[in-house]
Subunit: 335 residues, 2 copies
Amino acid sequence: MSKTIQGIAEHLGISKSTVSRALNNHADVNKETKERVLIAANEMNYHPNTIAQNLRKQKSGIIGVIVPELVNQFFSKAIKGIREVAEREGYHLLLSHSDENMEREIKSINTFEKARVEGILVSVSNETNNFDHFDNIKLNDVPVVFFDRVCPGLEHDIVVGDNFDISFKATQHMIDQGISRILYIHGPLKLLNFKRRYEGHLECIKRNNLNFNRKLFVEANDLTWFDHQILIKVLKGPERPEGIMIYNDYAAMKMLSLLKSLDIKVPDDILLMGFNNEPFAQYADPPITSVNHPSEEMGSVAAEYLISKIKGLEIEDSSKMVKSELIIRDSTQKP
Amino acid sequence: MSKTIQGIAEHLGISKSTVSRALNNHADVNKETKERVLIAANEMNYHPNTIAQNLRKQKSGIIGVIVPELVNQFFSKAIKGIREVAEREGYHLLLSHSDENMEREIKSINTFEKARVEGILVSVSNETNNFDHFDNIKLNDVPVVFFDRVCPGLEHDIVVGDNFDISFKATQHMIDQGISRILYIHGPLKLLNFKRRYEGHLECIKRNNLNFNRKLFVEANDLTWFDHQILIKVLKGPERPEGIMIYNDYAAMKMLSLLKSLDIKVPDDILLMGFNNEPFAQYADPPITSVNHPSEEMGSVAAEYLISKIKGLEIEDSSKMVKSELIIRDSTQKP
DNA sequence: ATCGTTCCCGGGATCGTTCCCGAAAACAAA
DNA sequence: TTTGTTTTCGGGAACGATCCCGGGAACGAT
């Protein structure tokens, strides 16, 4: 006895059309027969064949997701958020990681085309400088929603963090501790997120009528680390900073070691804050103030956005924002 | 012009059967017509409809994956490894996380059934005490491969780390530094991995003819932290340990803070090693010796294993082992 | 001329659904 | 009784691919 609507139909001596209608809660079916069908389906442990349904309905029920890196708190949390929404809405995920490589990104898009995904969620690679592969025309109208890492230009649907605002807020927190010279070590400004944070920082400096000092700005081109010599010069120099804001918590950890080796105490001699609120930040000595991103929320918001686009709903605003949170710990509080 | 084999067939004035044969590199087709078909397919940017293929071939091309937690270095790396193998072999992934919850695990298995996955990879939740839902009979012969977190009992196909060996090795490394009293803080022994490590440690102690001291073993029931008072008593007591092995790097970080507050210096006064080689371990002060697990390899090995089972290949051994690596840093080296 | 082979190809069934269309039955209205 | 309306159902055509089966053409052998 095959577990198909045909099987149920033969078992009950009715036609597969009727079974289908009963199962899909269609109007044109007697209440009594519907009952019989549902009971039989349950008894036979029937599961509709999704593949056949999809073929008939001309849809795949699959959402493609591209992230730059799977092994990353931020993105794995985002995926978690995406997954939960997708599951609830009956979609499956096709997961891909670009490894910050544009070629792989293009390859993933090709895979998505073949798999006939109904929509695409993407956080673009840092190395991507050409965005043709996200072109809707090429993708024959498969909707695309970008999250966190978005394309420059505003013609897309995006979900982003409030980089400007949170950076402003974080800077204000530092200033509120009674300091005015903040060393700001930032990531590459060609990346939108770093740029927005930079702008938020500058704006806060300006609003507080602090004077802009070029020497207090360092770009860490190499995301793993930066030039010690320059740093030591600044940290030991005449205009010694009273606080440091640094682009992520790993860098903050290293900075902590460096400061210790220079016998500069945190927070007594200098304040320090990181970014991204990595789990170990609270275990550092002293615990490091950081910024927590609602990455899971970002994922779920992006997924909901995409699904409503798939369903063809009209969306008022093509750009959504989620709010980050400042996590204040000992490293930015004077004893 | 629809992009189907029928479309190509009409375009070339031949039958869809011939097109299908040409595309699938079948024997019964004229070399010349095959050429024409391939060119036409290319020109029309034809992609075979996977859904239709799957319906006809009665397979889904999907592998189900359950991990306890997505937001976790170990598992996200494993997923990366799985993904790469799966992609190469033409399978898609259906990802699920149990949140260490058996109910969710069962739910995921149900989802997998509906989606008609061809195989399942799973790292079981710590809370799972009943394994019926992984029963092959229920799953009508969908192969299952367990990795890292396996079911107790040996009747399954598993891929695991060399917990016993690496723990032995790590302990030997500590002893080689000239110490004999090692405080061993372990995770719950009802979990197989922790148990194996514990056994490896004990074996090494024994082989080195060191006497077993019950006071040097502490179980951290609460995985986030453990009882400070007991620890301080041990650390300051008469039989003060010369080294500490602790179940993961987060705990090691916290231990580091505790030691500092007690004015015990690492590695001068005491050696310290963690586990799992979290990225921040190298940035700690001092950098912490740890154990690196080849999680990505574990994922790819498990995926390859599963796929060969799906293909019905005979496998000599139902249990595979991948090797971890001891990463020696300053925290276990006397100056 | 007949037969057997080999090489290519088309027809049509099939996978498990959905859904349109028409039709039988039941019932109400004339 | 006849006609119209509603309710309920079955037949069969899709969806896009694979694959079995049978058959025509070409060719050499008899």
